[in-house]
């Protein structure tokens, strides 16, 4: 079996975000990391690999050249190889354009399963898994909190606001996972060393047969007009309780009543 894990390079949540003149995020401004949600998809893929003989797990990343560190990080979890799509024309691609690139990259790849995070921490669109599924004409099981595999049949628990639904599908398919699915491992020292020599194929748009006119800022189907920092919030009143609880409770009740919450 062959599993693909799409992984994204994202700015650290704590990093200050800088918006460039073209309204895209300046991806060189702060520290960048592997999208946290993609650690769960990698973990899930690795667990399948460990219990299923002959399984290969490949990372797929669309990103600038610097994303190679992210790809190596992904490889350090024990993956077998990676594909990185890098091309200047990709800059500024939205969710749909990203899905077009990932789909084109996979058109000539063999795979049974794509496992990915349900959300990237910067865009937070959650759209890429479903859009990729549409381009590849595959079923998508998103927001999965538990995944079982029986031969070619996938059984997934999809998290809902009030519980979960169980969905069944055949492979090939796309699965996007939520945090509850597993507890990701830390890369071992051996894994980190091995990652340096794992096969990493870097391809440009021509190599995946995609025209530059289908991707990037100008060919995305969404456009950002402005992006401004939210004014910092001012801390309000702070009441010190005296240890009895009633002082704090009374003051808070007054505050809530003043705001008509009670």
């Amino acid at each position: 079996m062959r599993i693909i894990c799409p992984v994204k390079r994202v700015p650290d949540t704590a990093a200050t975000k800088v918006i460039a003149d073209d309204k895209t995020l300046d991806r060189d401004a702060g520290e960048a990391i592997l999208n946290a949600n993609d650690e769960w998809s990698i973990e899930e893929a690795m667990r399948i690999k460990e219990r299923t003989d002959g399984t290969e797990v490949i990372a797929l990343c669309m990103g600038p050249e610097q994303a190679q560190t992210t790809v190596r990080k992904a490889l350090s979890y024990g993956l077998d190889g990676a594909i990185q799509i890098t091309d200047p024309a990709i800059h500024g691609s939205d969710a749909a354009a990203t899905a077009r690139v990932l789909a084109a990259a996979l058109r000539d790849e063999e795979f049974d399963l794509i496992i990915m995070g349900n959300q990237s921490s910067d865009a937070r669109s959650t759209l890429v898994p479903a859009m990729l599924a549409e381009y590849l004409d595959l079923p998508a099981l998103t927001y999965v909190r538990k995944l079982d595999l029986d031969d070619r049949t996938l059984t997934a628990q999809r998290e809902t606001a009030s519980g979960y639904v169980v969905v069944e599908s055949q492979m090939p398919a796309i699965v996007s996972v939520v945090e509850a699915i597993n507890e990701p491992r830390y890369p071992s020292f051996k894994g980190i060393m091995a990652a340096k020599s794992k096969p990493l194929e870097t391809k440009d748009l021509a190599a995946i047969g995609l025209d530059a006119g289908e991707v990037g800022l100008d060919n995305s189907w969404t456009q950002i007009v402005e992006a401004t920092p939210r004014p910092p919030k001012q801390a309000g009143e702070k009441v010190e309780d005296d240890g009895s609880g009633t002082v704090g409770a009374q003051a808070l009740a007054e505050f809530l009543a003043g705001k008509k919450f009670i």
Binding site: T160, V166, E237, S244
Partner: protein, 322 residues
Amino acid sequence: MPNILVLVEHDAGTPRKVTNQILTAARGLGADISAAVFGEGAGNAADALGGYGAAKVFVWDSPDAHGYATETQVAALEQAIAQSGASIVLAAADPFTSDVVARTAIRLKGGVVTDANDLELDGDRVLVTKDIFGGEMTSKCFAKGEGPQFITVKPNAFTAEEGGGGSPEVVSLDISLDDKAKRAKVVDVVEAESGGRPEMTEASIICAGGRGLGDEKGFELIEQLADALGAAVGASRAATDAGWYPHQHQIGQTGKTVSPQLYIGSGISGAIQHRAGMQTSQTIVAINKDAEAPIFSIADFGVVGDLYKVLPPLIEEINKRK
């Protein structure tokens, strides 16, 4: 006048609050409004939707809508868009609905803007105001594909107000599904015990608990506070990771993003990843025994104290004043 189609969220034909809010927003844009409602009981929704401004309602009353993952509804939405001639599609920012919107948009080559907080008309375009980077910034953007503009709207971004139509024209959709649309089948639906509390993303008040609760039992206190206020219950990752409360209640970067009118955090320090899911709440209250906890820097009101001492008399006081 723009032609807007609203994709309806409903429970057995009763439209959810978020749909009424979106219909109200569509009226605010001075649009011709139709609605698309899929699933069992869909037909019962028409009059209620008319009461919020839908002049036409496209109905697909079939168990197939929720009996399969996403793709059956994609087929229906595609039909409804074609028949309505809509150039703008508004839907709730709900995970499963977003999947339907995402796939439909790819089919029709339309752009998708998610999580709108506000909408304004700019020529034929809808300019969307939304939070980005977990509320660190706000942005204005629009969809510009050759297909319709698809926009998902956050619950509670708008206040629902009845108005407009009356009895809408009802169009029954005839959807023929190929095997492909049925390739991911729903085999079971499991509802967790909600205790009658509202869903977190739709609630106007959220009471959240964190590691400071000390154990699973601590959440009983948070639930009592929530019930006194008619609120939903949320949790920090420390609490969901420990298994004290289910993951779907997690607020933050890797959980849900919420912006209720009131957020009350008890025993939560306010780590940046938690703030990324709640800092746009209108009023923030924190109860924490550490006066230096970062949550206080964004709290409109803070109580420095032991939550086990403060919450019981607070709950009592709220119940007394009701």
